[in-house]
Symmetry: C2
Subunit: 344 residues, 2 copies
């Protein structure tokens, strides 16, 4: 498995072409996903290894991506820490009992996380069996700041006033919360790797809501702590700091790959990070709502920006949209598989 | 009036201290605003010159900002072009009849805009009288792309799939829409200047939803067209391209001042734009929810980043939040008025 295209690209080794997978590839744009979803709610799908495995493998069978990513949700970790999670897929997740202060933080548990999340490990094992060596399996977790944001806000937010006010007014308390989450995520990811994941992605989906001066102290250092704790030669780690402007800070991270959002100018990012990190991204997912001609043009632009130096994994700059026509994502994968040879 | 601190700062002339105003300063954080709002709906307040003037002047009397900005909404222009506007302040604005294609674009009117928006000019005239030369009055408009985004989506949006798909699939149609909006905005702003506005700000609130490769063609060129059409020696123009990463593109704009969002690293922006543009911004509005000590520390950081070269107007990097305690914004204004002398 370690010689698979995707894993070689993660390690910045020479590859014959650019690998491709997309965030949320096991998701609502697939009729086969919607068929399962019609019968089960989102969390049941996460917690039933047979369903999670089925959904994880669907886009490999149907679209032909170069990596699978285990179907799950970043918020299963806060749930295992004691918060009560609800996920309504169209509305986003919420917690009935958000963290409101020191007392709530003390109540959060960091022990037995792996036991409570055994269903994820079972899903990983089952998926690995079904993938049967065809493609590597990515495991993932939320970055501590992103998880803390959900845990304190109780749900998604426009301005993230609560978590940011906690950071601005009570930095010591904020660090206590982030430290507990970090400990839990480390235990969780170690279990995922042990269960068979071949690579790890850390989603810092709300990274962009921290002012630039605050990112390293309140988010990146915890991501780096996790990576240092779980990293081995065999398991590459992708960090996705969605929305940050100062991508330079990622240079000092022990991650192998940096996920780049579509708002970033990939040429500039390459100048800044290209010599130290593999880049993953970054086509705008809305492009996939247009037509094959446009998709191929835009995907070609992404390949052109990277050029012939390698160190690139093709992905979108955010999750694939539920309204994406299946033939459009198929056209993208076909194009990358057939045309990216020219850049290698 | 042209010798007022704020206008001199806009023209990058030497000033004795840094001027300060904040976006949405005539807004819900003020009990005096909420008292008026309790009796009238948002659009009635925009359309009744006496109310608009009263609300515009409130933050000058109560907080002591260095500039007033006329109370209004960017969407009065699309309304004058023929769309049916509803504003529910807590939910955001919406149009009952969004633009869905070429037919709808052809139906939009670009004539008689100034007649339909006479209530704004009347509000400007009345406000100027009430301000009585104390501070300059800023007039504003939405950038054509931001207005088009609202007009096509029908309301705010998470992914802006409709306007972006129009741009990706039908660029010629998109340009037709943007051209008509530009024509209307030019007429509108000329009227505002004639009515007495001393400076103009163009809000490109959704600039960040365009991929970087698309910003200049589908947004900035129209902003620049407007500025070239309305600009005189006396009336400085501020452009606020909220959310864009490639601030370099603003170098070539004929604007005098660039508004900087709080997500940007002001030190870097200064390196990029500081020699060609005055910078306005960029403290995170959430800082104002903390306490005086934190506010003063963070405001000091903003002043430090600009240093002693001048060319700065203090502002937030986004609108002041409704939950901001009045004593906190007062503390910020006091600090800037008393401490920014040291930097000049």
């Amino acid at each position: 498995m370690s010689e698979h295209l995707f894993l070689r690209a993660c390690r910045n080794e020479k590859t014959e072409r650019t690998p491709i997978w997309v965030m949320r590839q096991a998701g609502r744009y697939l009729p086969e996903y919607r068929a399962v979803r019609a019968k089960h709610d989102f969390l049941t799908m996460c917690k039933t290894p047979e369903l999670a495995a089925e959904i994880t493998v669907q886009p490999i069978d149907i679209i032909g991506f170069d990596a699978a990513i285990i179907f799950s949700d970043i918020l299963v970790v806060p749930e295992a820490m004691g918060l009560s999670l609800k996920i309504i897929e169209s509305k986003g997740p919420s917690f009935d009992n958000p963290v409101t202060g020191t007392g709530d933080i003390e109540k959060l548990t960091t022990t037995g996380i792996a036991d409570k999340l055994k269903y994820v490990y079972d899903a990983v094992k089952l998926t690995k069996k079904q993938l049967d060596g065809r493609v590597p399996l990515i495991g993932f977790a939320g970055a501590p700041f992103t998880l803390a944001a959900y845990m304190v806000e109780g749900k998604g937010s426009k301005n993230f006033e609560k978590i940011k006010t906690l950071i601005f007014k009570e930095p010591v308390t904020a660090h206590k919360l982030l430290g507990k989450i970090t400990k839990s995520v480390i235990e969780y990811l170690k279990g995922k790797i042990e269960a068979g994941c071949d690579a790890i992605q850390i989603f810092d989906s709300w990274a962009g809501v921290l002012p630039p001066d605050y990112y390293e102290e309140f988010s990146l250092r915890y991501i780096n702590e996790i990576i240092s704790a779980i990293k081995t030669e065999e398991i590459p780690v992708i960090a996705f700091p969605r929305g940050i402007r100062n991508l330079e800070v990622m240079k000092s991270s022990p991650c192998d790959v940096v996920g780049i959002d579509w708002e970033s100018d990939l040429s500039k990012v390459k100048d800044i990070l290209g010599s130290s990190k593999v880049l993953q991204g970054n086509m705008d997912p809305v492009i996939l709502l247009s037509d094959e001609k446009k998709i191929v043009t835009e995907a070609g632009k992404v390949l052109d920006k990277i050029g012939k130096d390698g160190g690139h994994i093709f992905n979108l700059g955010h999750g694939i949209l539920p309204g994406t026509p299946v033939e459009n994502i198929k056209a993208l994968v076909k194009f990358i598989k057939e045309e990216s040879f020219k850049y290698h």
